[in-house]
């Protein structure tokens, strides 16, 4: 399903949502809840083919192309990582491939979770975002060449 709002609008919505938490525990609990709300990824998509390598937590990412947009389905075996994955899916899924490829994704920084996206983190999240952008970039390039 393609929603009309932009990546930036969705990011702002998340930043406002997180503004009500002062305590780290409340923030983490909210992230865990978001993870629980993530659409179930079919068992066959938990295959190595869709696995994004992380050292400690695993992430699976499955892209579906819908016209010029990309829809993502994803999962993780760790609850906090899964919540962060849910945030990424919420922001990027259904957006035009070109917009995904170019998204700066500053919202994690604004909600104080930037460290989770660091490439040195072993949760696989940075690799997942990279993978999302690679898929989007490939589609955007294809569209450009087809005029």
């Amino acid at each position: 399903m393609i929603t009309p709002d932009t990546i930036a609008e969705r990011e702002t919505e998340i930043v406002e949502e997180f503004a009500m938490f002062d305590e780290w525990l409340d923030k983490y609990e909210h992230i865990i809840e978001l993870g629980k709300g993530l659409a179930v990824l079919a068992p066959e998509l938990h295959a190595d083919e869709w696995k994004v390598k992380g050292c400690q937590s695993q992430v699976w990412l499955h892209p579906v192309r819908e016209g010029d947009a990309l829809v993502f389905q994803a999962d993780s075996d760790a609850a906090i990582t899964k919540g962060l994955v849910a945030l990424m899916v919420r922001v990027l899924s259904g957006q035009p491939a070109r917009a995904i490829a170019q998204a700066p994704l500053a919202f994690l920084d604004r909600i104080g979770l930037h460290e989770h996206l660091s490439p040195t983190r072993s949760n696989g999240l940075a690799s997942m975002v990279k993978q999302m952008k690679l898929y989007a970039g490939a589609i955007a390039a294809q569209e450009a060449s087809h005029g």
Binding site: W24, L25, Y28, C55, Q56, S57, A79, I80, T81
Partner: protein, 411 residues
């Protein structure tokens, strides 16, 4: 009766500046000494003083600073010889750490010793550092690495080991003294002796044992033993390889460069005697001043008392953690070092690690560079708390409270 009085514990803690740090608004509870122990002020100070007053390259210079730096460097070699009970100082080789020590042996001795179809036996719980170098060299030589199977309690199956020794063309046994993942203290002398009786060479990974117990390489009978300074209240980037001199003498050099040669010319180069044959290039010459101070610290408190205190902490931690429902401790060997590894029902170790970090508690989570061990016990990773002489029961209480709190969030 505790090993130390509360005043003594406070005094020991006071010597580690990092322990006064606040992490995520909470006082730091550092329970990750199996990865890296912290350093007392005297180690930091010794290295700073060395940099201010003595810094110069070792072995080569005739000037005063170089002479003094060389004295510190070679003085440490004597001390490590005494620490390990080696028969001569030339049996101690300076390396970057345990990993480099094992690679050195694999790439020199291993390469020389292994032929097609030969076997290296390695324990099922080995750290990757004592497994992967052997796999790489074995593959090059057409040899292979087989495992000494582990039992459910975290010990190694000695009978299976003897059967493997008798049924396979085993040339080298690579075995850990203490498991970094589970804390098991293996009866390593039995394993070494069994290999020795059959003429098989042995390397002991002492990374988790040398900092926590007294040992003697001659009594142990091993051919090689490796350990790191950074797990023993010392600096990072420094480790030691003990090798029986007779073997070292027969081994080819590994890395080429300065300091390891006898005579160099384009028509051919001859190499220095051990240990210098294996010490190419400028070493981390600042670190020995710090390691000397770390050994002073250990001697001052006494290795027996350190070991007894860590055992006390282990017993306390295991007792308290066992009270928690849904928590399972991995490894119930009769002898364990100050390491407790556990899993929580329904909670991923990564989530647990993030939560504990928010509470100022530093533990290790994941596979601990021992994936075959994780596979053996059917987990992808564990939460590991490990202790040093500066830890306290109240830090363990905080860990227990933290675990109970995070269980509520995730269940």
């Amino acid at each position: 009766m505790s090993v130390f009085s509360p005043e003594e514990i406070a005094a020991i803690r006071g010597r580690f500046p990092i322990l006064s740090r606040v992490v995520n608004d909470k006082p730091l509870a550092y329970l990750d000494s199996a990865a890296s122990s912290q350093v007392p002020e005297q180690v930091i100070e010794a290295m700073a003083t060395f940099q201010r007053t003595t810094r110069a390259n070792v072995h080569r210079g005739v000037h005063r600073l170089s002479q003094e730096a060389t004295e510190v460097h070679e003085g440490l070699r004597d001390r490590i010889q005494r620490l390990l009970g080696a028969s001569r100082r030339e049996e101690v080789i300076f390396v970057r750490g345990t990993t480099e020590a094992i690679n050195l042996v694999a790439w020199t001795f291993g390469r020389q010793k292994l032929n097609a179809l030969d076997v290296v036996l390695a324990g099922e719980l080995e750290h990757h550092a004592n497994l992967v170098p052997w796999q790489i060299v074995a593959a090059e030589r057409g040899a292979r690495v087989e495992k000494i199977p582990a039992l459910d309690d975290g010990t190694l199956d000695f009978e299976a080991y003897e059967r493997l020794l008798d049924s396979l063309p085993v040339k080298i046994v690579a075995i850990q003294h203490v498991s970094n993942a589970l804390g098991t203290i293996h009866p390593v002398e039995r394993f070494v002796q069994a290999a020795k009786r059959r003429g098989v060479a042995t390397l002991v990974d002492g990374a988790q044992s040398v900092p926590h117990m007294r040992l003697d390489v001659q009594a142990l009978g091993c051919d090689f033993l490796a350990f790191s300074a950074h797990k023993m209240y010392g600096p990072t980037g420094l480790g030691f390889l003990y090798g029986r001199y007779e073997l070292l003498e027969s081994m080819p050099p590994w890395q080429g460069g300065g300091d390891m040669i006898d005579k160099v010319s384009f028509s051919g180069t001859t190499f220095h005697e051990p240990p210098w044959r294996f010490e190419a290039g400028t070493p981390h010459y600042v670190a020995p001043s710090g390691m000397n101070a770390a050994l002073d610290f250990v001697e001052e408190i006494g290795m027996e008392r350190i070991a007894a205190r860590e055992h006390e902490l282990l017993e306390y931690a295991q007792t308290r953690l066992r009270e928690i429902e849904g928590l399972r401790i991995l490894g119930s060997a009769p002898h364990k070092a100050g390491v407790v590894s556990f899993v929580l029902e329904g909670v991923h170790h990564y989530d647990a690690g993030l939560f504990l970090d928010q509470m100022g508690i530093a533990v290790r989570t994941g596979h601990h560079c021992a994936q075959p061990a994780m596979e053996r016990y059917g987990v992808t990773g564990t939460i590991r708390a490990s202790f040093a002489v500066f830890n306290t029961e109240s830090e363990i209480d905080r860990l227990v409270a933290g675990v109970i709190r995070l269980q509520k969030v995730f269940q």
